[in-house]
Amino acid sequence: MRISEQAKQLCRARILEKAAELFAARGFDQTTTRDIALAAGVAAGTMFNYFPSKETMAMTMVNEALARGREEFQTRLDGSEALEEELFLLIGTELRRLRPLRPFLGPVLERSLSTFPRKSVCPEGETARQEHMECVRQVMRRHGFSATPEDVAGTIYWSLYLGILASWTGDQSENQEASRGLIDYAIRTFVQMISGTAQGGDHGH
């Protein structure tokens, strides 16, 4: 008998929900896929069909949260924002959505977004990068900067963004307020840098 698409979605959602609970309660590294399967009430083999690893589960949650954040970001814009502000809102809104996952995010992001070459690359990590960067490129284009997927600006941006994520994930201050300054700083550094190259754009006001 074939499982309906709806049942599949429900099962997938249940696995993610249980995984999130366990990660938050025990920590990412202390949780095994076995624990998750048990809590979700599915066989380990079945679970494997949905998610090949717990990294994948965690990064799926991350990507969903980020995607919701980006949707919300679009609704918060009123068109009067400077490039710095728009990027700041983008990151701020994403991180707000990511906040519930923060307790177990450190090792997840470290593994999935690490710039160091790894044997088994987590495709969801690559998805996170591509989706975020696509949004950034749209923002940049709106402000008159040309942006191609492989340019240096994108690379620098991504490295700053990873720095932000790393700081924010471990930020002990209330509401991660210490990272706000870093985000501001990183974005201004970036905008200053791309404005400095003779690329045009709407800077200089």
Binding site: V152, R180, G181, T189, T197
Partner: protein
Amino acid sequence: MATEARRKTGIEDRAALLNLMPRQEEAARRRLAELVESVAAKRPPTTSFSRLWILGSLQAKVTCAYLAYWLRSRWADADERERLKSETHLKAALQLLGTMGYLRGAVMKLGQMLATFPDALPDEFARLLPALHFEAPAMHYAMVREVFLDEFGKEPHELFASFEREAFAAASLGQVHRARLLSGEQVAVKIQYPGIARTIEADLRNLRLLMQPMRLGEDWGNTVVKLAEVERVLLAETDYLAEASFAQTVRDSFTPEEGIVIPRVYPEYSTRRVLTTEHLEGVHLEELLDSAPSQELRDRYTHLMTVATTRMLYRTHWLLADPNPGNYIFMPDGRLGLVDFGCTRELSDEEWQLQVEVEDALLRRDETEMERLIVKASLYDSAEQMGQERLELIGRVIRWQLEPWLSEGIFDFGDEDFFRRGMEAMVEVMRKGFTRGMPVHIWTNRFILGARGVVYRLKGRCDFQEIYRRESGRDGCGMSGAATSK
């Protein structure tokens, strides 16, 4: 527990920092002086950047190192042109970060203290003074919105009937926006730059570390104590709810007929990081002076300022430790508005006692007792130990500070000779490095300097003694004694 952890990271930070420092003491001194000077002199590339010092921290260095790594790894198999292009970018990035390293933060703080607490620091640095200024970085509206979401769970436009996106005034730890409440009142909303309290802590820690190898003279120990005092007051300023309660207490000690206005606080729109107060319409000192006010108006404002500050001093033993001219608002109907109670220092009983004793000795013209108190306030055991020159000079400053207490009738704070005498004595104290003293005197000096500066520029007069008698409730023997001995 928490303090233990704090101490631990403090030690780690210290180790990390010391690693960055050159080992040889003499070389360290010189290199540091050069560094401080070059960082201070460097004009950041754009105006928005000039206020970003706060973010230049070790984190920035880490980001920077990370960036370098990233680019280098990219070059591994890129061709030469790619390499050069990337290198250019990297250089640009490094230059930017270099202008705002943690040193810059420390330098700015150093500058602030030089500018406002000249006696807290050695005069070696005095020549850096004009280049430095303390201001939090400007926040764009996107940042303000995020702060509001954190503080209230709402955006500014959801909370207020209207909210101006651009700040109308800069504050030392943030900025101030105009807004209107749903009930119609115009308000001033002061918003703190996120994380600034931690930055202050970190910067002052760095500052101490940076200065340590220099071991600036015999009064080093005293300087350290004063830095701790500065830290305490600056950190207290980061809690806007504490400021709100100070403001409320002060507000309660004035009646509307007196012409002194302390804006009311709106607690529903205030948190530790956001302070919403009634907006006071009026002008600042500069603008008032531009309008060529009558002598009568100048005198009136001088009178009101004196009443306000003496009442706070004598009733609550509070010093307005940050008497910057922007905190006085000259209202159109001749009333005086007072804002900013964040930087308020309460005198301890012991400190207050000393103040009272000095006033009494002065009014009795008891020179022996005055000398004893000056020696005590300078933390010496005896006049011999203090030295004649120091004793004379510090005495001159204290007597100048208290001169209005001894003058019958109208006192002219706009008198150039009076003002110059005081300034000259204080500059001399700094030049000689006679900075040793009780930490509270950082604030008394600052308070008197700030307030005297304003009334001097205002060229204002008032009957100081009359105000003093009324506010202190001490109109008895001291005064008559002083009068007869004249």
